[in-house]
Every structure is written in structure tokens, then in C-alpha cells.
């Protein structure tokens, strides 16, 4: 845990420290409980790490061969991918697997047909997507499904019109989106819905000014962004909110300098990595989103 961050003014991105922080995560510490506690999402962990390294200009520092090999071993006969070898397939890890291949330049190695079939098999009559065979519905899965297929060039595999219809049912009184129809607006879900609509070319179907403003209101006096009204800022919203504003072409509606300053304050100057907010513990997930922001 970083100490004394409040005393130092972290004004630059500590690139080398973050590269080292991410790189050390690949050391298999199999006697470490934490290693096993996150095994269900290890494929996504590789995506966050790779993407962060790419943003830091250090993609070549990652052991691409062994990462690809690990991801391949997570493939399920249904065409989907699990979070670790032997784990059940889920849309979440299927997207991460495709993204890892895309980052490494190995998209052509994927069995696009079977992945497309796995994804399209999860679409429901109302256009929504299950996350896996157990039936959880969430607008995250709409975005994940469309992102996966877009990367594979296979958007034809699903009913796009119905997928869009379902997403539009999740708009709320404030112009933002929730997890299912009727659910409270949340910046993470909003990112997924805006992303899905952007992929489908249907951003004209929403009130862009109203949503852009709701997103801009996520910026707090500290410069950090929160996920919904009255909540604390969190570095991952640098991505969810900022990317949404970017897709809506409203990026200038927040104070960029203050956000940058907030993210930099969340760095751990000793061990590297970025945390959710200043003086908290760093992790790969927030390092990725902080760097991306």
C-alpha cells in the first residue's frame, strides 16, 4: 500500500513503474491466494494488462506467445471462452479472448465461425443477450456481443435491429442507461449502451445533448469522475465516462486538466500501478483504465 501520496504532488505519468507493475502480474505465484481468487477472470486480466502496455508503448515487453497459449487453453467446445482453463464459457471472457488476439495481431488464428455462433446463440427474442447459458441479462452483454462480432467482421450473425431496440429500452429519465429496462442510470452501463449503439451506427436514436450533459456532471470538484450522482470518484470512470463522451463527440464538456491531475494522484509512486482513488491499493484493472483515460 502506498504511503505518503498526500505529501507528494504526482504530476507526471510514472510510465516505467506501471510497466513493471503490470509485467510482474504474470509471475505465477501459485501459493498466493490472490492468484486463485481472480482465476475466473484471468483472460480479462490479460486483456487489461496488454491494453495498458500497448497504451504505455510497451506491448513488446509482454510474453505474447505464452499469453496466446493460455487464452487458447480457455476455449470451450461451444466456441466461447472461459476465464481460465476448464472454466465454463461466458461472453465476458469470449470478448477478452478476441481482444487479446486482436492486440497481439493474431485475429486470423481464431475460429470466427464458432465464436460467432456462440455469441448469436445467446441473443434473446427481445434483442437482449444472456451472459451465458444461465440467463443473466445485462446491457454490458449487448455491448460485449456486438464488440466481439465487430472485431471478427461478423455483425451479420445477430439481429442488430432487435439488439438496438433492447438497448433503447434501457434509456432513463436522465438520458443515461441502466443494466436492464427500468434500472437506474450508471456510467458503466451507459458506456456499454453508447458503445453498442455506436457499433450499430444508431447514436442518432438518443438525446445526445442530454446524455452528454449527464456524463459531464460526473466530474467532481477533485477532477475525478463518478459513476452516478452522489457517488465517489473512481479512476475506472475515466474510461467509461470519457469514452462515452468521446463517442458522443462531447469530450470538451469536462475539465480535461483536472481529470488528468486526478488520475496522476491515483498512482502508486513506490510499487507502480494506479488505484481507484488517491491512496488506495493499485490493481491491473484500474491501471488500464487510468492509463487509457
Amino acid at each position: 500500500m502506498a504511503e505518503g501520496n498526500g505529501d507528494k504532488e504526482l504530476q507526471t505519468l510514472l510510465r516505467e513503474k506501471h510497466v513493471k507493475f503490470i509485467r510482474q502480474h504474470d509471475d505465477k505465484r501459485e501459493d498466493d491466494f490472490a492468484y486463485w481468487a481472480v482465476s475466473h477472470l484471468r483472460v480479462s486480466g490479460y486483456y487489461w494488462g496488454l491494453c495498458a502496455m500497448a497504451s504505455l508503448g510497451a506491448l513488446d515487453d509482454m510474453p505474447k506467445g505464452s499469453i496466446l497459449s493460455f487464452v487458447r487453453s480457455c476455449r470451450h467446445k461451444s466456441g466461447g471462452y472461459g476465464g481460465s482453463p476448464g472454466h465454463d464459457p461466458h461472453l465476458l471472457y469470449t470478448l477478452s479472448a478476441v481482444q487479446v488476439h486482436a492486440l497481439i495481431g493474431a485475429l486470423e488464428e481464431l475460429d470466427k465461425e464458432s465464436i460467432s455462433k456462440y455469441v448469436s446463440g445467446l441473443q434473446q427474442a427481445d434483442g437482449s443477450f444472456f451472459g451465458d447459458r444461465w440467463g443473466e441479462v445485462d446491457t454490458r452483454f449487448s455491448y460485449i456481443a456486438l464488440n466481439t462480432l465487430a472485431l471478427l467482421g461478423r455483425l451479420d450473425a445477430v439481429d442488430m435491429s432487435k439488439a438496438v431496440d433492447f438497448v433503447l429500452q434501457c434509456v432513463n429519465f436522465d438520458g443515461a442507461f441502466g443494466v436492464v429496462p427500468g434500472a437506474e442510470s450508471h456510467a458503466g452501463q451507459t458506456f456499454c449502451c453508447v458503445g453498442a449503439l455506436a457499433i450499430a451506427g444508431k447514436l442518432d436514436q438518443i438525446d445526445v445533448d442530454l446524455l452528454g450533459w449527464w456524463l459531464a456532471e460526473r466530474q467532481l470538484p477533485s477532477g475525478g469522475l463518478n459513476g452516478r450522482p452522489q457517488k465517489l470518484p473512481d479512476v475506472c470512470y475515466s474510461w467509461w465516462v470519457l469514452s462515452s463522451l468521446g463517442m458522443l463527440d462531447r469530450l470538451e464538456w469536462i475539465n480535461k486538466e483536472k481529470l488528468i491531475s486526478f488520475i496522476l494522484q491515483c498512482q502508486d509512486p513506490d510499487a507502480g500501478g494506479i488505484a481507484d482513488r488517491p491512496d488506495d491499493r493499485a490493481d491491473v484493472y484500474h491501471t488500464f483504465f487510468g492509463v487509457a483515460g
Binding site: N172, F173, G178, V179, A183, D209, Q219, Q230, K231
Partner: protein, 208 residues
């Protein structure tokens, strides 16, 4: 706040209902208890929607629940959100809805007159205004904002943000443009001063 646990409970209740019966009354009480501990837990609010749908709880009863939560805490955005979804469901005609909107406007004013800085009631108020069909009603609400912003109320610049922003949105609804309306221009300029982080947004509104 673990997402998957809530989904698992939801899935389990549906299997119980299929195979035997689920005690939806108990599940609803559970939600009430959890929301007492954490009134912004959106997983719990979602789960409550699942339970009330299965139990066929009336929209009016759930609407009353949101009233209770809001009176406990005016800034409870989750409750205001739920209220926005339920309001149309509690009305069976356009006339009823119009009357309900007026009652809601009076209700939300209690909240923002108590604390002008709390954004939740203002966001709900803005939505209510967007549902109004009559310019006469809109002008009445413009007068409300102007009264709040008047010198008598002694709002600080920081406190003036939400009433000013609402005043701007009403003026635009009434067809005013920055080009023609000095009052609109003055309000947008003031907003950029009291809320500089979002000055580009106010500049955008100035140009529209």
C-alpha cells in the same frame, strides 16, 4: 454489492416459484431491510423490481415506497429514478397524468427549497418539466426559478447553479435564443462562472 450474488438469488427464486412457491413477501421485506442499510444499492433496487413484478405489487404501493425513501433522504437518486419509472404507471389517463405531474412538481420543490445544491431533485424536476405540455405551466415554473434566484433568497453563487441551469432549460423550451434573449445570455455567462469545469457545455448552449 456483488452482482452475481443478486443474479443467483433471482434465478433461485424463479426456480422455487416453478417447483413449489416463493415467498415474495419475505423477499420484498428483505429488499426493504437492505435498502435501509444502503439506500443507493442499485443491485437491490433491481432485485426489488424483480420481486414486485413477480408478486404483482401495485405501482401505487411501490410509488409510496419511493416517497418514504425520498422523505428519509432527498438526495436518494435511486428513489427519484424509480419514481420516474412508476409515475406513468400510476395513471390511467392523460388528465390523471397531468394532475400527477403538478403534484410531483409541488413535491420536488420541497426538496430543492430545502437544499438548492442537491442535484437529485433538480434532475427529477427537469424531467417533470420535459413532460409538461402547456407553455403556461412552463412559465409558472420559470417564475419558481426566478424567485429562488432573487436576492431575497440569498443563494450563494455555488447554490445558484441548479436553479440557473433549470431556468436556462425552461427558457429554451419556451423558444428563447441567446441571440435574442439577454436574460438567457446572462444566465449562461453566470453558469460558466460558478461551474467553470463545464464551461464548454454552457458555451455550446449559448451557440444553440
Amino acid at each position: 454489492e456483488e452482482l452475481l450474488l443478486w443474479f443467483h438469488r433471482q434465478w433461485t427464486t424463479l426456480r422455487l416459484q416453478e417447483w413449489h412457491t416463493c415467498d415474495w413477501g419475505y423477499e420484498l421485506e428483505l429488499c426493504t431491510a437492505f435498502l435501509k442499510a444502503d439506500c443507493r444499492n442499485f443491485h437491490c433496487w433491481n432485485y426489488r423490481r424483480h420481486v414486485t413484478e413477480q408478486a404483482r405489487t401495485s405501482a401505487k404501493d411501490e410509488f409510496a415506497f419511493t416517497t418514504k425513501k425520498i422523505l428519509e433522504l432527498f438526495s436518494n437518486y435511486s428513489a427519484w429514478h424509480q419514481r420516474s419509472a412508476l409515475l406513468p404507471q400510476t395513471c390511467t389517463s392523460e388528465e390523471e397524468l397531468a394532475k400527477a405531474l403538478q403534484r410531483e412538481i409541488d413535491f420536488v420543490k420541497n426538496a430543492f427549497y430545502t437544499d438548492a445544491v442537491d442535484q437529485s431533485p433538480w434532475l427529477y424536476y427537469r424531467w417533470l418539466l420535459s413532460q409538461l405540455k402547456d407553455d403556461v405551466d412552463m412559465k409558472q415554473e420559470l417564475a419558481t426559478c426566478e424567485e429562488l434566484l432573487s436576492e431575497d433568497m440569498e443563494l450563494t453563487p455555488f447554490e445558484s447553479k441548479w436553479p440557473t441551469l433549470t431556468e436556462v432549460s425552461i427558457r429554451k423550451r419556451l423558444g428563447e435564443t441567446s441571440h435574442e434573449s439577454e436574460l438567457l445570455r446572462a444566465s449562461l455567462t453566470r453558469l460558466a462562472e460558478v461551474d467553470p469545469d463545464r464551461k464548454n457545455y454552457y458555451e455550446y448552449l449559448m451557440g444553440k
